[in-house]
Symmetry: C2
C-alpha cells in the first residue's frame, strides 16, 4: 500500500482511483473539505432530485395514490434489498425501518422472548445500544451485563457462558476498530449467544460478507456512508430462517401479514417484514432509496481499500505532527475515520472549520476525521493535513473566537 | 347550522368561510377533488419550500453543521410545541418522534412498568394500537383485555375495575365517531386507569382541549390533518408531572439528559424529551414543521365547525342517494370523514377516481370520504356529490376496468 509523500503523489493516486467517477455524483460545497461523512454523508445529486420528485410530483400531484403508484409501500423492501447487497446478505432479509435504537430493541426483545437469558452490551461502544438494553432490562427483568472495553474480557473467547444476547459494533464509533465478525460469531455459536451487529459505521464502507461470516442479526443507520440524508431511516437484517421464529413486540400494522384487512389480531408477515412497525417517513426514505443506487456495481472491496489509503495518508501526516491517535495504526484494518487526542481538541476543530475543513469534536479531547471514499480524494486529505499543520504550527486555534462552545454534534 | 341545497348556497357558504384564505396555501392538482386528506393531507406550499431548503441548502451546503445552525436538534421540540397549541396542552409537553405504533408502545410500557396491571384496547378501532399491546403482553406477560366495540361494555362507566391502561381513539378511523374525552377520563380516574389517546384522526381537526379534559397521555400522526407529508413523524404528549415518573424502554440516545456526553449509563431527559428514541428523520420532520405553521392563529373551533358543515352537506346528499352511513348523523359531533356502505364500494371508488374525486375504499364494503377544512370547500362537496350521483344513476361503476383490484391504501 502506497502512502503519498507529496501532493503530486496524492494526485497520482486520485488519477488511478477506481472510484474517482463517484465524486461527480455529489455536489459538494465550494471551498470545503468535508471530513465528517462518518457522521452525516453528503447528498448524492440523485437523492436531491428524487426528493424533489417525491415531494412535488408524487405527494403534490398524485397525493394518496402514490402509496401504490409510486411504490411507497414497497420502499422499505426496495431499499432493504439494495442494502442487503452492500452488506452481503440475501435481498429479502433486510428492510428499512425506524432508527437504530428502535431496531436494537426489536431484535433484542424478540430474541429474549424466544430464549430468555442474560443480555449484554460492550462498554465504550456507541451508547444508544447499551441504553436500549438497559430499557429492555427494566421492562422485562432481563439480566443485563456490560462487557469490558479492554483486556481479555473484551475478546470473543471471554464471553460469559450464561450470556444469550450481545449487541456489538462492527466498527467502533470512536476508534474505528473493526471487529472480526467471523471470530465473534464462532465463539458465540459455541456458547449459544446471538450477536446483534450494529453496522452504523460499517455499512457502505467495509467489505462485509455478513451471511458468510455467520451473522444472523444486524441493524444500521442510513445517514453515514450510505448518504441517505440527516436522520435517514435505519435498517434491520434478520436471516430468513431466524426471522420466522421471532416475534418482535413493536408489532405495528406495517409488520402485519395483511395490514389492510384491519383485523383485530396481529399475524406477523413472513420474514424480516415482521420487523416493520408503523408508517415509515416516505420523504426521508425516498432520498435514502435513491442514494443507495450509487452502490450499484461498486466493489465494496475497492471502497474499503480506498478508505484505508485515505486514512493511512492522513494518519501518517498526523504522526509527523506529533498527534496521538486512538485508531488502529497505519496498515491495520480500520473503519472510515481516525480519532486523535489534542488538549484543545474543541478549539482546533473550530479553527479547521473556519478554514473549510470539517471534522468533529468528541468529548473530552478527541478530533475525529472521516474519509468517505465516494467523494473524498487523496488530494483532499493532503490539503486538509496542510491546513491542520498550519493551525498547529501557528497555534491559530488560540483565537478566542474558537473557544465559544456550541452544542456538539 | 345551514346545509346548502344548491350550488349557489354552497358558494355562499364558501364566501363567508372564515378559513377560506387557507386554501391558497396549498397547490392542489388541477381537476381533482381531494376527499382523502384524512388518509394523507395535501402538501402546504410552505412545506414543499421548506423541504427544498432543508435538502438543497441545509444538507447540501452546510452539511453536518446544520444539526446546530439549522436547528435540526431542536425540531422534535419546535414542532412539538406547535402541535401542543393545536391539541390544547402545554408547549413543553409534546415532542415529535417515531411513529404512532412505536409511541403507543413507549407510553403503554412506561405506564405498565410504573404500575403493572391489565392493559386494554378497543375492539374495532385502528388495529395497530391493539397489535402493539399484544406485542407488549407477549414480551412482559401483561394481562391483555379487548373492550367490546358496541353495547354497554363500550361506555366509560363499564370499564373493568382491574384495568390499568387503555388505548383509545379520539376519532374512530372508520365511523368518525368522536369520543367524549372528559367523560372517559372521569370514569377512568375513579378506577385508576390511565388512558392513552390516539389522536391520529383528531389532531388538526377537532377542537381538542386535552389538558382541561384531564388527558395526560396521547399519541398522534403528522400526515393526516396536520399535512406533514407521507409517513410524517408522529408525536407524543405526556403531561409534565406524569412524565417525570415514567421510564420508557426505547431509551435511545436522543432521550438522554446529556446525549453528547456519550456516557455508558442512561439518564432520562426531563419531561417528555425522555420519550425520544434515536436520530429523527430530518427531511420528513422539516416538512412537518413547516406544515404546522399553517395552524398559527387559526381557531380550532372554526376548523371543527367547518368540517361539520362539509360533512353534513355530503351526508345529506348521500342520504338522498339512498346510501347508508355508519358515521354519526347530520348535526351530530363527528370527525372529518364519513363512511358509507355500498355492495360495490371498491368499484364505485375507482369510478370516482376516474372522474377526479379521490376517496378511499375500506374492506369489505365501505367508501370513506374525508373533508379537510384547510383546502376543501362547500362547492367541492357539492360537485363531488353530483359526480357520485351520476356514477350511481348510470351505474358506470360496472365498467370492468374498475373491478381490477390493486393493493389498497
Amino acid at each position: 500500500m502506497t502512502i503519498a509523500s507529496s501532493r503530486a503523489q496524492a494526485e497520482a493516486l486520485d488519477a488511478t482511483d477506481p472510484l474517482r467517477s463517484l465524486r461527480d455524483q455529489f455536489q459538494l460545497p465550494e471551498g470545503v473539505i468535508y471530513l465528517d461523512g462518518n457522521s452525516l454523508g453528503a447528498p448524492p445529486k440523485a437523492a436531491l432530485a428524487r426528493l424533489r420528485h417525491t415531494a412535488e410530483s408524487e405527494w403534490r400531484q398524485d397525493l394518496v395514490k402514490s402509496w401504490n403508484t409510486a411504490g411507497w409501500f414497497d420502499l422499505p423492501k426496495t431499499s432493504g434489498a439494495k442494502i442487503a447487497t452492500i452488506i452481503g446478505v440475501a435481498p429479502d432479509d433486510v428492510i428499512v425501518t425506524d432508527n437504530v435504537s428502535v431496531n436494537v430493541f426489536k431484535l433484542a426483545s424478540a430474541l429474549w422472548t424466544s430464549a430468555p437469558g442474560a443480555i449484554a452490551y460492550m462498554e465504550g461502544e456507541f451508547p444508544t445500544d447499551g441504553y436500549i438494553l438497559q430499557g429492555l432490562s427494566q421492562l422485562t427483568g432481563a439480566r443485563l451485563l456490560r462487557i469490558p472495553e479492554t483486556g481479555l474480557g473484551a475478546t470473543p473467547d471471554a464471553l460469559p457462558t450464561d450470556l444469550r444476547i450481545l449487541v456489538k459494533s462492527t466498527v467502533h464509533y470512536k476508534t474505528a476498530t473493526v471487529a472480526d465478525i467471523s471470530a465473534w460469531e464462532q465463539a458465540a455459536a459455541h456458547k449459544g449467544i446471538s450477536i446483534i451487529w450494529d453496522l452504523s459505521h460499517a455499512a457502505g464502507l467495509i467489505d462485509l460478507d455478513l451471511a458468510n461470516a455467520g451473522a444472523q442479526y444486524a441493524v444500521g443507520c442510513g445517514y453515514k456512508y450510505l448518504n441517505g440524508g440527516p436522520g435517514a431511516p435505519a435498517f434491520i437484517y434478520v436471516a430468513r430462517k431466524a426471522a420466522e421464529k421471532l416475534d418482535q413486540p413493536l408489532s405495528g400494522w406495517m409488520g402485519h401479514a395483511a395490514p389492510f384487512d384491519f383485523a383485530d389480531d396481529y399475524t406477523p408477515a413472513p420474514g424480516v417484514q415482521r420487523f416493520a412497525s408503523g408508517t415509515p417517513p416516505i420523504l426521508s426514505l425516498s432520498a435514502l432509496d435513491a442514494a443507495l443506487d450509487l452502490f450499484a456495481g461498486v466493489s465494496m472491496a475497492a471502497v474499503e481499500a480506498k478508505a484505508a489509503t485515505l486514512g493511512d495518508l492522513f494518519l501518517s501526516r498526523c504522526v509527523q505532527l506529533g498527534l496521538q491517535s486512538i485508531s488502529p495504526t497505519i496498515g491495520a484494518r480500520r473503519g472510515g475515520h481516525i480519532a486523535l487526542h489534542h488538549d484543545h481538541a474543541y478549539e482546533v476543530v473550530q479553527a479547521l472549520i473556519a478554514q473549510g475543513v470539517i471534522g468533529d469534536f468528541r468529548m473530552p479531547d478527541l478530533i475525529r476525521f472521516g474519509f468517505s471514499p465516494f467523494y473524498i480524494q487523496h488530494t483532499d486529505i493532503w490539503d486538509a493535513a496542510e491546513i491542520l499543520q498550519s493551525i498547529l504550527a501557528n497555534q491559530s486555534w488560540r483565537d478566542p473566537a474558537f473557544a465559544h462552545r456550541q452544542p456538539v454534534t
